[in-house]
């Protein structure tokens, strides 16, 4: 589709309003930093302390040494879960997207409609049954309480298949696939040598979105990993905020650490993430 030219230039008010929006968006993150770097006394002040203090290291040390919270392990667990899920989503969704976009097989259209329909199924509503299912998985006591319970349900996403298909439709010309086939390349060979190089940008976007979503997941990890010594960082955060003597400087120091990787990702891949969200919107 031809991209229409953008219309009227922004006025002073446009910039002002948008700046307020950005400030509103950034404020809680700033506030997290303020609290994470201050002492208890500074936080009890009225009017409130509005500047960062020098207590970050102290607060962090407390977070990491807290009993029964396993904060350091939880970060490692989150890295494992998010990385494995992201790699898997990229691989399997690119494969399926390639098949749906460029290969001919019986039932292709019907199956693609099914993929789109599954995008509307709220998985969350199956948590009770998923918990029971995980309890029956092979191994002692099933998979509940292990990282497998969090990883396996995330290994593929319908959105990923849909997204990769859309991109491969445009980015890989049919002629290229035909030519590779004429040269005797197998389907997998075409995938690795023709498709993957052509869709790297889309994979980067899907990877970023998947990583962020997986890292931030809370409900299911809480259900299956809550109360074990194997939490993800989000579950560990909720542990930090539980109990009788909750120290918010400590809680938010932890939250800061758990948010940092995503802020770095936004800083590095912001442009790609924006484009990915916008492209997903127009085509759906």
């Amino acid at each position: 589709m031809g991209r229409a030219p953008q219309h009227m230039p922004g006025t002073v008010w446009t910039y002002l309003f948008l700046s307020v929006v950005i400030a509103f968006s950034a404020f809680p993150l700033y506030w997290m930093f303020v609290i994470a770097t201050n002492t208890d006394e500074a936080l009890a002040q009225i009017p409130p302390q509005v500047l960062p203090g020098g207590q970050l290291v102290t607060n962090l040390r407390e977070v990491f040494s807290m009993q029964d919270v396993f904060f350091l392990q939880s970060l490692g667990n989150s890295v494992i879960v998010s990385s494995v899920v992201t790699a898997s989503v990229l691989f399997f969704c690119a494969l399926a997207g390639f098949a749906f976009a460029k290969l001919r097989f019986k039932g292709r259209n019907a199956l693609m409609v099914m993929v789109v329909l599954t995008m509307t199924v709220p998985n969350q509503l199956g948590v009770v049954a998923l918990y029971i299912l995980m309890g029956r998985m092979p191994g002692e006591g099933g998979w509940n309480g292990t990282l497998l319970a969090v990883i396996v349900p995330g290994l593929v996403t319908a959105f990923g298949v849909f997204y990769m298909r859309q991109f491969i439709l445009d980015a890989v010309p049919d002629e290229l696939v035909e030519a590779a086939r004429m040269d005797g390349a197998s389907t997998m060979r075409i995938f690795w040598s023709v498709v993957v190089p052509a869709v790297r940008p889309a994979m980067a976007v899907l990877g970023l979105l998947t990583f962020v979503a997986t890292w931030n997941e809370f409900q299911w990890p809480l259900i299956t990993l809550g109360g074990t010594d194997y939490p993800t960082s989000m579950v560990a955060l909720s542990d930090l905020a539980s109990g009788n003597y909750v120290l918010y400087r400590r809680v938010l120091a932890g939250a800061l650490v758990a948010t940092l990787p995503l802020l770095v990702m936004l800083f590095i891949g912001g442009r790609q993430i924006v484009r990915g969200i916008m492209e997903g919107a127009v085509k759906s």
Partner: protein, 338 residues
């Protein structure tokens, strides 16, 4: 990227695993094993490529939802595995007389309305501003995504502090405006205040994301439509409601359905807004306990999985219904014609 080079396909003819020799020009000869491999490759490999998705989704996505229906019709207690067997409609019957459930349902709807409506309206305005010719355009777009990438867990804990009664910055800011100077607002004590606090968190998180969805759609509206409207004397507001919204209607419907599904399953914000999150109570009297939270409480605190499953099925049906109604209303609002 991944190191999964050895993919689940038929072995390639004339090529050792890992060999890099080009096989240029080798066409399959009729009748030989190579032809058969070629046929297999063309005919069945596509199914192998899509199989992982469908298998994993069937087992861990679809099956639990269907199985949820079975669990809902049974006794299923975590603390008493012997108490099992068919319960028939007992769990559902109990649902209709359960005050906790209706309280949670009302809270869910209240918070949902307080969050979805302002969220989408503001997103529309932000999008139409982002759609102007701007300096530092990318910077603004990335900026509005800050909340989107922030874990809800983290942002809720931040807002918990912001909405604290005595030392919270929300009350401090309101006192500057002369509100609640003598008696600071206890955000967690009443329904209305806790709903507003939670809706604020939801709005904060999703305005920018929705704005980007709208912006994407707005960029394909031809410029001359606006020019014609401007010539006819339509101001920015009129243009927004009479041109922009009708022309991006599909995306508006999409976001309405999306935020319905998300809003009615609200879990993390109400959980962590509580002083003691693990209980899943949503306030001393359940002022802001949502259905998703109640499901957690019934299932993993009261250990009654059967009843929790019935609740989640009921919620599922409610979501379907509301999403459908919303889609129809939105379609009408946007002009109704195709």
């Amino acid at each position: 990227m991944s190191t999964t080079r050895a993919a689940p396909t038929a072995p390639r003819p004339g090529q050792e695993p890992g060999a890099t020799a080009e096989r240029r020009g080798r066409r399959p000869e009729p009748g030989g094993w190579r032809t058969r491999l070629y046929r297999f490759d063309v005919r069945y490999v596509p199914y192998l490529l899509i199989a992982p998705f469908f298998l994993l989704f069937a087992v861990f996505g679809l099956f639990p939802i269907v199985f949820n229906g079975v669990v809902a019709l049974r006794h299923w207690r975590l603390d008493d595995p012997t108490l099992t067997g068919w319960a028939g409609l007992e769990n559902f019957r109990r649902l209709f007389t359960d005050d906790d459930f209706f309280n949670a349902l009302a809270n869910t709807f209240g918070i949902f309305l307080l969050s979805t409506v302002p969220q989408l309206l503001l997103a529309l305005i932000v999008a139409s501003l982002l759609n102007r010719k701007l300096r530092a355009q990318t910077w603004f777009r990335v900026g509005v995504l800050l909340p989107y990438i922030t874990p809800v867990t983290a942002s809720t804990l931040i807002f918990s502090v912001v909405f604290a009664r005595d030392t919270g910055i929300a009350n401090w800011a309101l006192s500057l405006l002369g509100i609640g100077e003598t008696e600071p607002i206890d955000w967690r004590s009443a329904k209305w205040s806790s709903w507003i606090a939670i809706a604020t968190m939801v709005n904060w998180k999703w305005i920018g994301y929705n704005a980007l969805l709208y912006l994407a759609a707005m960029q394909s509206i031809p410029r001359d439509v606006y020019e014609a409207a401007a010539v006819d004397g339509a101001g920015p507001w009129r243009q927004l409601w009479r041109i922009t919204v009708p022309m991006i209607r599909p995306v508006v419907i999409f976001t309405v359905v999306l935020s319905t599904i998300g809003g009615l399953q609200l879990f993390t914000e109400p959980m962590l807004f509580d002083a003691n999150p693990a209980l899943g109570l949503g306030g001393d009297d359940g002022q802001w306990q949502t259905v998703a939270q109640l499901i957690y409480k019934v299932g993993w605190r009261d250990l009654n999985l059967g009843y929790a499953a019935a609740m989640s099925w009921a919620l599922f049906l409610v979501i379907l219904l509301v999403a459908a109604i919303n889609a129809v209303i939105t379609n009408r609002l946007g002009g109704g014609k195709r």
